[in-house]
Symmetry: D2
């Protein structure tokens, strides 16, 4: 089903040496793989720019679980958007702090709006929406 093609890239030898050092530092074992990653990174950015695309995203929320009603408010808002929330994971960072990661999927504009709303929930110390992809069409 997959169809791998090959094309040539011409560039200056010095630039290629610098790139080889760079990708080695990043842990790549393979030049093609590194270039595929550069390409896919840009394509995923574009998927998010066009608001109608199906995307996946994660939301990381750090908060103090002693914050009285925050856990229940977070559960409520997730249920209001159960169509966008696939799953969530919760870790206890210390006696006070926990990190909850929600995995979202839906239209880019909906995921973005909901992710931002979660991050701005009162009591969240640090919230972060990360743009990733459903992988569809991104071989």
């Amino acid at each position: 089903m997959d169809r791998t093609v090959r094309f040539g890239v011409s560039l200056d030898a010095t630039l290629l040496e610098s790139f080889d050092r760079y990708i080695e530092g990043k842990g790549y074992t393979n030049r093609s793989e590194a270039i595929r990653d550069l390409i896919r990174e840009k394509l995923v950015e574009r998927q998010w720019e066009a608001g109608d695309n199906q995307v996946a995203g994660t939301v990381s929320l750090v908060y103090d679980h002693h914050n009285l009603d925050l856990p229940s408010r977070l559960v409520d808002v997730q249920h209001d958007h159960h169509d966008l929330v696939i799953s969530s994971v919760h870790v206890h960072l210390d006696h006070h702090n926990c990190l909850e990661v929600l995995i979202l999927r839906g239209r880019a504009r909906d995921v973005k709006a909901f992710g931002e709303r979660l991050c701005s929930t009162r009591g969240i110390k640090h919230g972060r929406l990360t743009f990733t992809t459903t992988g569809y069409g991104l071989v």
Copy 2:
């Protein structure tokens, strides 16, 4: 233990109106909360710039689980760094694609190096390291 203080901010009335519209659009119900978030965002950036700080981070990896040995390679590399990996969650996006989110904690430089290595693993379609915080000292 917590000690809330209050200080005054002076700014132009027009600027404040624009800010109020902005935070309303983001879902904030409270100006102080919005400003605390702006402050904490900058402080977390700094924590990551200084490589020795304890931080938390998440890594989102999208891949095709039919990719022969990728799942086992991912498990192996996680075990090699079990001190950095707190937890992971795996969701099935479709027949082919899955999204795995790892939650990391450790020194900023170690979390960054390991996160980048995960993202550059051969076969990962899209990898993303997100910088967040252990919440410690960030009330």
Copy 3:
């Protein structure tokens, strides 16, 4: 004409201490000024997200001026968009490399499209579009 207002922000004392250290490191002499900057930064981001707003931007282009026809192509493309280009400055970095900075103004979507086209011009070593503002409404 300007009307300065004042409002109170409540936050944890520890968080405020961290913020004070942060802004001191950045060279701020004044807490209000630092917070105004955080606010304006977000408002400028929003101006760019809505494509119809009037914005200002800069484009930095690094290239080898020995590259045969690049300088003339850059001049041509600027004249084709003279309504967007206010000014440009050119510095000689070394015998080969020069850095040209163009200052653009117009609708966000036009400035973005033109800026990206400049950055992707064949022969440009490094191109960068920076989002800033006309300052209008941003006291």
Copy 4:
């Protein structure tokens, strides 16, 4: 002196089609050029991460020139760092607002510290430090 080399990249046909559409939208006429840009973008990021490298940068400052002593303070601080400032350009955006762009060169850590100080100068409405390169070694 320049030595162009050529290497092959293998990737999935669908991914290549998406990439071709993407680079066409960006105005690239040539796949190699687009990939060289992706590579150079990452190398420039690395130059800035290592604080000792020679880099070039630009600082965009928007401010109201009626702000009493700001223009003279900006001139003073530039003269204090004349070794970092190559040139500057000033445009009048409207009756009140002006945009001044400074071109800096020096060690990454010095350019960064000075650029941030400029952006945080009291009275600046919007300041932005842009990371670019001297082009040296970046063919």
